[in-house]
Amino acid sequence: MKHFWVQQRITFLVFTVISLLILAGCYLFSITLSKTSFASGTILLLCIFFLASYQLRKKISFLPLGSSAAWLRFHIFIGFLSFVVFALHSRLQIPNGLLEVILFLTYYIVFLSGIFGWFLSRTIPYRLLSRGEEVLFERIPMHRNKIHDRVKTLIFDDAQPEQGAALPDFYHKHLQEFFEGPRHQISHILHSERHLHQLKQKISALQPFLDEQEQVRLQQIAEQIQLKDDLDYQYIFQAIIKLWLFVHVPLTYSLIIFSLYHALAACAFASTSG
């Protein structure tokens, strides 16, 4: 942990120094009436290409280009640095032209989604570790189905003929919908277990009306409810950690296209020399 904080501080220090160097360079460049927009724009374009190349790095993992973790650290570092350069390039002002406004918004969405992803990558793993079993995201429907089958077995197949319909009724009334798919996603995001408590209260309320065997089965069902709820918890957070990329990655492609077009137009229209 100590090593982590030292590393963070060094990274922050390096980031600050590089940012200040870029700001100072552009300021000094502007004094000589040189085109600082082209300088900052070129740096920004290089940053965007580097950031986008992280996706490429994942695809060509067989090449010895460094560890994915190192790439991720650089990706985050350059991402923050790109914001400094972007702020410099756009002078912290919202542009007026349509194309530039779209480019501006695209960058900000990509950047903010990156920040969001960075925040998720810092928080969700801890939350995932805190509850339930870590399972592969793609296997969650299968596990959910298995739990559901187990519950149905406990209620219907293991029931004795003399036992009443209390458990099946309880299942149809309160459990069937719960086990059929991912539920209470908002509550999980908000770290709330209120729904689980309510369900457990209902179970507790039912328990006095059951015989001993039914109570054992109800206890097993309660375990499956906890398992299913943990699975839902895993599902929603793993989904979030995967779905934010649906904003970040596609818009990165748009950003590259817009950036290249903007660079071409700027060079042709805004007079690079002189």
Partner: protein
């Protein structure tokens, strides 16, 4: 404690390949994936993997271990698979969906860019923002400013690699901004040679000053080429909204090109030198002499009893509409009460342009009318203009050749043979008068030949006065000319006496006068801004010295004899007009012009590096008055000193005036130079009003808006 959800051995793990494009539909819908998963094309592979084979009349399951191994039930008796149809509709994996979304986003972005480009030329959607207010009317026309707007995408790509595109675009700026001159793209709009010269002059006066640290560091990052051309966009950044100030630059940016940078106006700025007096005023006016001597109560009442004494500076100077300049009230309001009589010069009869020589009446018997001019002619020669008009009269030329040295003051003592020649002179003068009376300006044009262009534009014309003189002196001239041309004797009836001597007519509006006392036609200035003198001087200062020496009109006006007084300050015009009106010579073209107005009324070709606005300094809150900055110099030069370096000097003969080629063009206004310290009491870091652009123009040849 519940048992773990997932086993990790491959035999017990179902199909999960999330990196593939397709995933099993059953996994997604029911959580019951098959082991195989879909094919790369997104097809379910489950069915095709189970094909029972017949062995010894029985069908056996042939499913491989990889696909789950042989099923317990085995094939049906008819050889069909016992498994129900478990085929599903595979779905795209998350990765594939994200990849698809990425492609879609890129496609939409590219489509948008192409729409913005819209064919052969870019649409207004490409505009990065509104242009400034001054360019708003051309905003819709990209090609008005951009070369790239005239071509397609290929042109754009070509231009990105063209280093001169900025200068090409700048050339479009100059189509409208013609006021910046021909060298607008050079630093400060002056030529490289001129820039080097100015730099050398400044370096010679360089004071030790430390450059700001930022400027020293900035010099390490590179520098725009100051020896070459600078694109307009180097300083003027457009498309930042209507309210953008296109000329705003920081002091460091201004100084980044300069060879002698300094910290600020307050610290390190070079001394102002003689500014603003190093460029003498367009109108010579010695404030010190006037305010300290002429406008003193006692002297003023004695020397100029009818003159008007100004009460304060505001009596003569008021700010213009822009507040930048202090206008000078006109001559009539400020100077006329004292100086009008000097200009009109009532004691001076005027410059003679036409005169009848003294010819004895006995010589003119039977030759028609000839007034009795005896004792009236003042000079030995005819006026120069008259000589010019008679230059191509062959009879006249033959006569003066025959007479030899002649004195026009006395043409009466000749023998009969020469008397005929004298008569020819008289007839030549009569023909001249007749021609001008009947043909007017055309006669002048014909007689002056190539010289006519020089004189005919001078107004008022002499023609009406000559015609009037003909009516007075030779009332029957037409008849006389007719008889003379037919070589007939002139009848006595035509020889009527002209108007008696002593008549004098002067047209107060034209300046021309006919004097019957000496039979001359003279010109005397009608007052301030006399048109003929003004026109002649404008012409004279533009001539070179050699051609001016040969110029007859110049000799007329520059001859002190012609002016009537040997001790006058100068020739008629130069002595009067150029005592107050200065002459400027363009350093580039070498052409001179007289400053008739106190402020420039035409495009100034002189370098204007500095500007100053009076109104803000005189506003009530500033507690300043004129004397706060303009302090009289008790050692200031007087008008005599000024004239010693005036534009005109006498030649070696001391008879004529010539243009002073080495004129210092110096004129003090009688004030001490304004010191930088005086300005910096207000313009300092505390008030944050010491920007370079407050006082300095970048475009030194920019046309200034004059205020009348």
């Amino acid at each position: 404690m519940t048992e773990p959800l997932q086993p990790f051995d491959w035999k017990n793990s179902n199909y999960e390949r999330p990196a593939n494009t397709w995933v099993c539909g059953r996994l997604c819908e029911e959580g019951l994936p098959c082991r195989l998963g879909p094919s790369n094309k997104g097809e379910c592979q489950l069915q095709s993997q189970c094909e029972p084979a017949e062995k010894g009349g029985k069908y056996q399951c042939t499913r491989s271990v990889l696909n789950g191994g042989k099923c317990k039930e085995g094939p049906a008796p008819d050889g069909t698979c016992c498994q129900p149809d478990t085929s599903c509709q595979p779905r795209r994996s998350l990765l594939a969906r994200r990849r698809f979304l990425g492609g879609l986003a890129a496609f939409i972005a590219a489509s948008f860019c192409l729409i913005v480009f819209s064919g052969d030329s870019p649409s207004s959607l490409l505009s990065p923002g509104e242009v400034s207010q001054s360019h708003a009317n051309i905003e819709s026309s990209c090609s008005a400013c951009h070369t790239a707007a005239e071509g397609g995408l290929d042109t754009w790509i070509h231009l990105t690699m063209n280093g001169d595109v900025a200068l090409d675009d700048s050339a479009r700026c100059l189509k409208c901004h013609t006021e910046l001159g021909e060298k607008a793209l050079f630093a400060h709009s002056v030529s490289i040679e001129r820039l080097h010269k100015i730099t050398s002059q400044i370096q010679a006066k360089k004071e030790s000053a430390s450059a700001p640290i930022a400027l020293q560091l900035a010099s390490l990052t590179g520098h725009p080429a100051t020896n070459g051309k600078l694109a307009c966009s180097t300083c003027h950044q457009e498309h930042h909204g209507r309210k953008t100030n296109l000329t705003q630059l920081t002091d460091l940016q201004c100084q980044s090109c300069h060879t002698s940078p300094f910290l600020s106006f307050q610290h390190g700025h070079p001394a102002l030198g003689d500014y603003p007096y190093q460029r003498r005023s367009r109108i010579y006016f010695d404030h010190n002499a006037h305010m300290s001597r002429y406008f003193k109560n006692g002297d003023f009442k004695r020397t100029m009893p009818k003159g008007h004494k100004p009460e304060s500076c505001n009596s003569c100077h008021t700010p213009d509409a822009t507040g930048r300049l202090m206008l000078t009230a006109g001559f009539e309001k400020t100077c006329a009460s004292c100086h009008e009589p000097q200009i009109e010069d009532v004691d001076f009869p005027g410059v003679p342009f036409f005169a009848l020589p003294v010819i004895a009446p006995t010589l003119m018997k039977s030759q028609g009318v000839w007034p009795n001019t005896e004792g009236s002619f003042a000079t030995a020669r005819l006026p120069r203009l008259m000589e010019l008009l008679l230059e191509h009269d062959s009879d006249y030329q033959r006569a003066i050749k025959q007479l030899g040295e002649i004195d026009y003051r006395n043409l009466n003592n000749f023998d009969p043979e020469k008397a005929a020649a004298v008569a020819e002179i008289a007839w030549a003068i009569k023909r001249l008068l007749y021609d001008i009376s009947t043909s007017g300006e055309a006669a002048l044009t014909a007689r002056l030949g190539k010289n006519s262009a020089l004189y005919l534009h001078l107004k008022p014309s002499i023609v009406p006065t000559l015609s009037q003189a003909q009516q007075i002196w030779f009332p029957n001239l037409a008849t006389e000319i007719k008889y003379h041309s037919e070589k007939k004797a002139i009848p006595d009836s035509t020889q009527q006496k002209p108007v008696s001597a002593g008549f004098s007519a002067r047209n107060a509006n034209s300046g021309w006068s006919i004097s019957d006392s000496d039979f001359t036609i003279r010109y005397r200035p009608i007052g301030h801004a006399d048109p003929l003198i003004k026109g002649w001087l404008d012409q004279a200062v533009q001539e070179n010295q050699q051609s001016l020496d040969r110029d007859s009109m110049w000799r007329i006006f520059s001859n002190p004899t012609a002016s009537g007084t040997e001790d006058s300050h100068g020739a008629l015009a130069s002595g009067r007009c150029l005592m107050c009106h200065s002459v400027d010579k363009d350093p580039v073209s070498g052409r001179s012009h007289i400053n008739w107005q106190p402020l420039p009324t035409q495009q100034s070709k002189a370098e204007q590096f500095t500007q100053f606005s009076h109104a803000p300094h005189l506003s009530s809150g500033q507690k300043l008055n004129c004397e706060s900055c303009h302090v009289f110099d008790p050692l200031g030069t007087d008008s005599t000193t000024i004239l010693q370096s005036d534009y005109f000097v006498r030649d070696q003969s001391n008879l004529f005036w010539q243009i002073n080629q080495n004129s210092q063009q110096a004129c003090t206004s009688g004030f001490q130079p304004i010191s930088r310290q005086n300005c910096s009491t207000c313009h300092n870091a505390a008030t944050a009003t010491q920007s370079c652009l407050q006082c300095h123009n970048y475009h030194a040849h920019r046309q200034l808006t004059s205020s009348k």
